[in-house]
Amino acid sequence: MSITPDIRVQTESIDLAAEQQKLCSGRTDIGGVVAFSGICRDEGGTLEALELEHFPGMAEAEMRRVADQAIARWPLMGLTIIHRHGRIAPGDEIVLVVAASAHRRAAFEAADFLMDFLKTRAPFWKKEHRLEGPSGDWVKAKAEDDDAAARW
């Protein structure tokens, strides 16, 4: 019994409660739900906004491939992955992963795995708009994200 993940790429903000509700609504076999929200930081007050570029089509396809790996590996009962693109202000969500399972271990591990792999495989790129000084720097990929993905 394999589930179909709910994968979305959107400019609209993300409604965590509505997403978790949708995933669990009417079900009584789910015992644990892990929701990860990735949020835009202001980098010590220097950042005005992030601009997220993505590769339409491939972004959804790659998110789906990573989701399918998680579904094959953990007994998930529900999985939602939403990634935003466009301009995102500090304090706003960039990404949401919600993983539901009968037991907490699978939900924790799947959400953790998904974030590591979305970071390193989903075609999104962040550009920084700064409040002062030169804007337009592209965020550099971090070696620690590759290391995190290599744990799995």
């Binding site: 570029e53 590769f55 790659e62 075609p123 790129w125 592209w138």
Partner: protein
């Protein structure tokens, strides 16, 4: 000569100066690595975009690909920096 759409993202796109173009591949270009070498000869903007060669990632028909992968039959090849989403 096979025709292929090239797509560029993030700073690769900014340096090349376009997000997409259609090119006819020379016969000897059979891998992303060879394609990068050929692109570099097409002008300063390409030389600049692909100067930090090792940083460039490739997708063939919207699937991550190795730099030495066969590109025969591809209709779209994309070049971009390491991803920074999430």
């Amino acid at each position: 000569m096979p025709t292929v759409t090239l797509r560029y993202f993030a700073w690769v796109r900014e340096r090349v100066g376009t997000d997409s173009e259609t090119v006819e591949l020379p016969g000897e270009v059979s891998t992303p690595d060879a394609l990068i070498s050929w692109l570099k000869t097409r002008g300063d903007e390409y030389a600049h975009a692909f100067a930090d060669d090792a940083a460039i990632r490739v997708a063939i028909d919207q699937v991550h690909a190795g730099r030495d992968q066969e590109i025969a039959g591809a209709s779209e090849i994309a070049f971009f920096p390491p991803m920074t989403g999430g």
